[in-house]
Structures are given as C-alpha cells and as structure tokens.
Amino acid sequence: MKRLLLSIALALPLVAQQVAPPPPAAPREVKLPQPAEKTLANGLRVIVVPKHDIPLVAARLLVKTGAAADPADRDGLAELTATVLTQGTKTKSAEQIARGVEALGATLSADAGWDFTSIDLSVMSSNLSSAMTYVADVARNATFAKTEFERERAQAIDALQVELTEPRPLAGVVMSRLIFGDAPYGHNLTGLPASLAKITREDLVKFHAAHYRPDNAVLVLAGDIKADDAFALAQSAFGGWKSSSRRGAESTSSSKTRRLDDLKPRVVVIDMPESGQSAVVVGRAGIRRADAAYMNAMVANSVLGAGYSSRLNQEIRIKRGLSYGAGSSFEPRVDVGPFTARTETKHESAAEVAGLLVGELNRLSQSDVPEAELTPRKAALIGGFAQSLETTSGIVNRVSSLALYGLPLSDINRYISGVQAVTADDVRKFAASNLGGKDVNVVVIGDAKQFAEPLRAQFGEVEVIAAEELDLASPTLRVRKAKN
C-alpha cells in the first residue's frame, strides 16, 4: 500500500504568561486507499477499494445523470424516479424488496443529486452478494407501478409542504433561483408540489430507460472484499445488463446555454412573521468541479466558512453570539455550481449577520490571509479528507465523486499536496474573482418588519415578498398579479 506523509505544520498559538501545552510528536503517515478498477463488456465501470478491518461493505451504483436533466416543466423527476426505483421490479414487490434487504441487515436507498443518481448499499460483508442482487434488480428491472408511483408522489408533495415552511431549507431553494434563474440548477432538486403533480408514471419509465444504463454508470465498492471477488460479483450481478438503444441526452446541463452572467444580483426577503428564527443566505455562481481552481476554492472556503474556526463562525458565533453556527460551501458540479454562505439568527439580528456574511466575502478578496491563519485552515481541510477515508461510506463518496466528474482516481493521492500548494496569493486572487464584489445575492427569511429597514440601509433595493405571494417556480419568485 502506498503511503504519503501527512505533514501538518505546528500551529500552536503562543501563550506567554501561561504554561504551554506539550508539543506534538513526529507525525505518522496517512494510508491512502488504493482503488482497483475494471470495465465490464457492457461499459459498466467497476471500482473497488479493499479495507478489511471491519466486516462491512459500502457499495454505490452511480448513474451519471441527475436533477440537472429534469425536463423544464417536470422539476423533481430525477429524484422521484430514484424514490420509486426501489418500489418494485419485474419479479419482486416493494414489500419483498424491503423485507429481503432488511433481513440481511442491509440498508438500500436511492437518491438523486444534481449530476447523478446513486443507489447506496451498506451491508455486512458476509451478506454482500445476496444484497447486491437487490441493487442490480432495482437498477435494471424497476417497474414503476402506478400505485407505488402515486403513493410516493403524494408523500413527496407532503414532504415539500413541511420543508418549505421552515426558513432554512426554503432559503436554499430561493437562493438557487436567484443564482441560476430558469437554468437547470435553478429549480428545487425535489421539485415543487405543482411540478410533481404534472409528472406521470410514463415520465419515470422514460427517464429510467434513457439514463439508467451500464455505459452511463459506475459501481463503487469499499470495505471487506477482495478486488477480484468484487469484479466477479459485479459481473454476475450486472454483466447481463444491456444499454437500451435510445441514448439519453449527454451531459444535459452543460449542453444548455447558461447565461448566469445576465442575472442581476438581488436582495430578497420572504416575510414569514411567525417563524421562530430568521435564515440568512448569501450566494453567487461558483465553479465547475473540473475547474483548475478547484483546490483554491476549497482552501478559500476553509478559511471563510468550513469548520468551527472559519471566519464566518468566528465573526458571527464566537465573537458576537449571534448564531448557533455560520458556514459556507462551494458545490462544484459538472457545470458551474453555487457558492453559498449561511446562518440563522433571531429576527432582529438578521440584517447585521447579512452584512457580516457579505463583509467576510469582501475581506477575503481584498487582503491576503496571514500564514498563521492559512496553515491551520489547510490542516483542517487535510484532516477532514483523511477522516473521510476512515469509513467505507466515506471512501465510496470520495471515489465516486472522482469517477462522476471524470477525474483520475489517482487524484486521491494528490489531494494533500494539492491543498498544501495553495498560497495566500492564490486565495486572494480566487476570492477577488469568485467571491467579492457586487454580484452577490442575499436571501433573508423571517419576520420582515424586524429587519427589512436596516437591510435596505445596507443593500439599497430590497424585494419583500409575502410567503403567500411566493412562487418558487418562477425566476421572479412572485405569483403573477402579485401586488408589490
């Protein structure tokens, strides 16, 4: 097994008048997983990462199409397809699948992301081959029975009703509209009650036939299994899977013209006077996963808003006690994904924290991060990477992300050095062109009368939309004929 040195610089503060903590010893090396891979004759790529300390295996069948491919008036189709996928096949009812999987102590779930759909399995290694037959069966032979479809759709609509009454999740959905307008990433991933109502069973069947195919999929396994045994298992479960002749649209999202630059940044308030806390989000278009500046983005975000000691949490929680937590993230995707920074606070502090969020984006783009701050933020990023590789599901996540975005699996060996190579200059330049400036959108959801005026004082034009006038399907966010 190849080993790399995890060299984390010493970053202890000086505490002059006090007893200093004992210093660290020499670091030990981090073991990085070594994936093995093979492509089956039908085009299915199989990747295995053996790890034998616990008799457990995590597996994911990754279909390289997700919610970005939802047709214009069918928001939520990819997710609904994934949800109904496990609810019956040509030979097994939904109940038989659930009982069979759970009798093995396994968990099986299917979910859509923006660029992918994943069918995930976690199972003790002695039951892997039995459990894998269920993964293959639902991927290949799902029938999308009408009763199952209608029940899942009704429950998805109910779930949306719950989700969209809470400021925090609602703020994320509103922000996607502001950043992406009516482009593919602009809608809610799980759709809206009205779009789900339009979706038919036939839409699911078509989506499944077009995208769930071996030449558009990757099988990733990590855990207590040998590579050769995993390849043999993949062959027996998926070897007979044929791609249907009709090819799904290739890379749906990037094939559509995206004019994000034409969208004017907005400051939007959704008035929910009875909510218990305000949600505040600022956001803008971020980067593609394949962007050469990916590592710069990760380091910049580690300084800004990933982890307890990042700047946003320092300023908003630690220094001012204004929130339980504040943070930010890039979601790099096939196409340009969002950057968002978020927090929650009592209504009367909402305008103040919006100003703090935007202020930190600007500070990062205007002045260099001191080395004494940059080094620990890089160490935090590297540590998070190393921790994610300690579990089977964490390894599956890392490896399938590389596979999805067409990156070499050997990138896993370059992550640590990639982080370490980023300089303060890289971070400032990246932030200047990707974070700071006037292109940022702001969403605040809560009791508007407590923060709308101070928000206007800071940002100028502020659109206040009453909750009952909100239309998430429209880039304007307003139901037609709404009063201003």
Binding site: L6, I8, A11, L12, V15, Q18, V19, P21, P23, P24, A25, P27, R28, V30, K31, D53, I54, P55, L56, A94, E95, A98, R99, E102, A103, G105, A106, M124, A154, Q155, D158, A159, Q161, V162, T165, E166, P167, M272, E274, S275, G276, Q277, G307, Y308, S309, K319, L322, Y324, G325, G327, E344, T345, K346, P376, A379, G383, A386, Q387, E390, T391
Partner: protein, 445 residues
C-alpha cells in the same frame, strides 16, 4: 435529547448495545487513578489518528433548580478559558492540526471528545486535564456563549415545524423525575444563569472521581499510561459528596392526553410515550428490539402500516433507554388529510398484535441483523468505539457491555419481545400528544 456544541456533530447511531460473534470485540484496557478517574483505552493503529473522550457523570437531569438547560450551557462554557488555555484553544489544538472536537450533553452525562492526528495525543491529554482542573471563564465570554445557546434553542425548537413537539415530549412524559425538564432549557431560565452558577457547577461535578477518560486509536500503551499519570494524577479529588438524582418517577395510573399547538405546522403529528425501566433492567434489550421491529426500516410494522398505508408521512420509534428509567416513544407525522387519531388507532392495534402473538423468527432475525450492522458502522472509527464504551459505562455501569450486549441481543426470544410489549406498552399507560397547527385551536381535530 442530544445537544451538541456545534452543528458539525458526528452523529452516532443510538444503539442500546450490540455486538455479535462476527463483530470484532472492542478490546479495552482499564485502570483507575488514585483520585478516582477511570481510564479506558482501546488500541487500533490502522490509521494515525486517536480519539480522546472525557465523559462526566453529569447531564441535563442535574440542572440546578430554576436553571433548566444549565448542564448544556455549561458544556459550551467548557470551551472557554482555563488557567493555561485562552478561550477556544481547544480548537487550536484540534481543528487547526487536522482534527476536530465536539461535546454532547445527554440526560445522564456529558461527553467531550476530540479526534486528532495521533502525534497530538499528549497535547490533548494535557488540555483535557486542564479543563477538568480549572475553568476561568470571564463574564463577557459567558454572556456571549449564552446568546449562542439561545440561538441554538431557536434553531432546534422554534424554527423547525416539529421542534415544539419534541420539546413537549419529555415535559409531559415525566411528572417527578428531572428528565421532565427539557435539556435545552428555556430562554428565561438560560437568562437567569450567572457566572457564579458556572463556578459552582464545575466545583460540584467536574472532578476526577466523576469522570471517565477514554482513549481509542493509535497510541503506545506505556506512553499513554505515563501521560495519563503525568497530567491527571495531580488533580485532587474533592472531599465533598457528589449530588445524586434519587427521584422515583411514579408509575402512570392512567392515560394522559395533551394537545400542543404551534404556528406553521403543515401536517399534524402524534407522539405516544410509555415509561420503561432503566437501561440496566433485563427488559431493556428486548424493548430495544421491539422498537426495531416496530419502526426500523421500510419493512418494519409501522412503516408498512402507516407510511406505505398512506396514513403518515413519517413514523419512528425510539426505545430511549436512560440511566434511571427509559421512555419508549412512537412519533408519527401525518399524511395530508389524515388525523393523529388515525395513526394512534393503528399504532395501538400493532402493539396489541405484538402482545398477543410472538413476532416470527424471520422478523426477529431481521431486527437483530439491523442492530448488528448498525453496531458495525459505529465501530468503523476509533471515535465510534469510544462512544460505544462511553454509552455502556453511563447507561449500563459496565464497559464490558460493549461486547456482552451482543450476546444479550442474540439471546432475546420472540417470547421476550411479546412479554415486554405487553408489560410496558399495553399494560403501561401512554401519554398521547396531538400536535396541531394554531389554526386548529378550539376546533375539532
């Protein structure tokens, strides 16, 4: 309720126990220092990281009178200054070097933990000894952190549509035992807390003979023992008594029904609870299995009847085993157009059927396999192993339960499950909470 210092909480599956022949046992070493500190260690050198936990036998049930939420507030304060550490130095020693830290306040205990590259083990042992030995928080830090906890209250209870339902469960389920006070507290009682309360709480409960040190992961045993001696042995054991919670919760004589209302409740919900014995009682493991049979997994009884049956949007069950007594709870969020009474009827029918007829061998086996696999997932990391040990120590008063609990799960029979369902969930009296939108007030629901 588990309350954590931060959102970036590593959630651990709540297993009452578990282990089996196919689960590698957790091989731990034990020693106790002259000052009463118990020390457990589990070596695993497969990755160069180590988890350091300190569990204190003080939890929300020890909140002082008129200070509900105090144990949790105090947990936050433990990240502020000590004699030799400025505020947030714990973050400098963990996050800044590629690790993380967090803390969780339970009903019966408070756990502080760090995972760091193993070359920082000595540093963190020093730091944990430091905050066990002294806490020197100033008033500004105290007030600012109290504001954070008030935001946490809004975040957990006021903002989510079902936050107030969960807040209502403990409050209404117990009449005498301090478990009845919500661990998150209330804005008023948090505001009443002072820095003197902090000092008194530390002096009363944060002492070596009320603490457990757990170290799991990459270390050399002799070196670890030496560092533990060096940093923890000098901490004196106070001569004062450690206050104990000795309140008997009376058995419920009759059913109790409560209607709770909140703004923005999109779908009504139902919660039912029953009192059960301590986690150490022989019926605890069968109750845990009963809960798994009821609602763990899509093919569980209540998922099939309520969710697949389109009565509820979501249902879950929790054996919620605690040190003094347990609280078995079933919660359902209704489907649209459905009423809590619809779910209540089906839940009662399912419990009656489990009391009448033993679960099938296949159903019992399924529940055991689900529990086993979830225990395996917890044991993937050193941090997870330390959590299993800590939970066993607090709830079972016995670290060996991390391994022996397996045998107990495997040994449970269908008759055991039938017996405990009948005894506690049929013959025991439920509390029923209907959770409704404010607009339903005064109307018929």
């Amino acid at each position: 309720m588990r309350l954590a210092r931060t959102l970036f909480l590593l959630l651990i599956a709540s297993a009452a126990s578990a282990a089996t022949t196919t689960i590698p046992p957790i091989a731990f070493k034990y020693r106790v220092l002259p000052n009463g500190l118990e020390v457990y260690s589990v070596q695993d050198r497969s990755t160069p990281t180590v988890a350091i936990h300190v569990w204190y036998r003080v939890g929300s049930k020890h909140d002082p009178q008129g200070r509900s939420g105090f144990a949790h507030l105090f947990e936050h304060i433990m990240f502020k200054s000590t004699k030799n550490m400025p505020a947030e130095m714990m973050d400098r020693l963990t996050e800044d070097v590629g690790g993380f830290n967090n803390a969780t306040t339970f009903d019966d205990s408070t756990a502080y933990y760090e995972v760091v590259p193993s070359n920082y083990l000595e540093t963190l042992l020093w730091a944990e000894a430091e905050r066990l030995g002294s806490l020197t928080v100033d008033d500004a830090n105290f007030k600012s952190e109290r504001d954070v906890v008030k935001e946490e209250f809004r975040f957990r209870i006021l903002a989510p549509p079902y936050g107030k339902l969960f807040y209502a469960i403990d409050k209404n389920s117990f009449v005498a035992h301090p478990y009845k006070r919500p661990g998150i507290g209330s804005i008023e009682e948090l505001d009443a807390a002072t820095i003197d309360d902090v000092k008194a709480f530390h002096a009363t409960f944060y002492r070596p003979d009320n603490a457990i040190l757990l170290v799991a992961g990459d270390f050399e045993q002799q070196q670890l023992d030496g560092w533990v001696d060096k940093y923890f042995t000098p901490i004196a054991k106070p001569s004062t008594e450690i206050p104990n919670v000795n309140v008997e919760e009376p058995a419920r004589k009759e059913e109790k029904r409560v209607d709770e209302y909140s703004a923005n409740v999109p779908l009504p919900a139902l919660a039912m609870t029953w009192l059960t014995p301590s986690a150490r009682h022989e019926d605890a493991v069968p109750l845990f299995i009963a809960s798994t049979v009821l609602a763990d997994g899509e093919s569980s009884r209540l998922q099939e009847k309520l969710v697949r049956g389109e009565i509820a949007q979501e249902v879950f069950s929790d054996a919620n085993l605690r040190e003094d007594l347990g609280l078995f709870a079933v919660v359902a969020i209704m489907g649209s157009e459905k009423k809590p009474a619809d779910a209540e009827k089906l839940i009662r029918a399912e419990l009656a059927s489990m009391a009448e007829k033993p679960v099938s061998a296949a159903e019992l086996e399924k529940a055991k396999n689900l529990i086993l696999t979830s225990a395996l997932r917890e044991r993937e990391t050193s941090n997870g192993k330390a959590f299993s040990l800590g939970e066993a120590l607090i709830l079972q008063h016995d670290a060996a339960f991390v391994n022996a609990g397996l045998a107990k799960v495997q040994a449970v029979t269908a008759a055991d499950v039938q017996r405990v369902v009948k005894k506690y969930l049929i013959e025991g009296k439920p509390l029923v909470i209907n959770y409704l939108d404010e607009s339903a007030k005064g109307g018929a629901q």
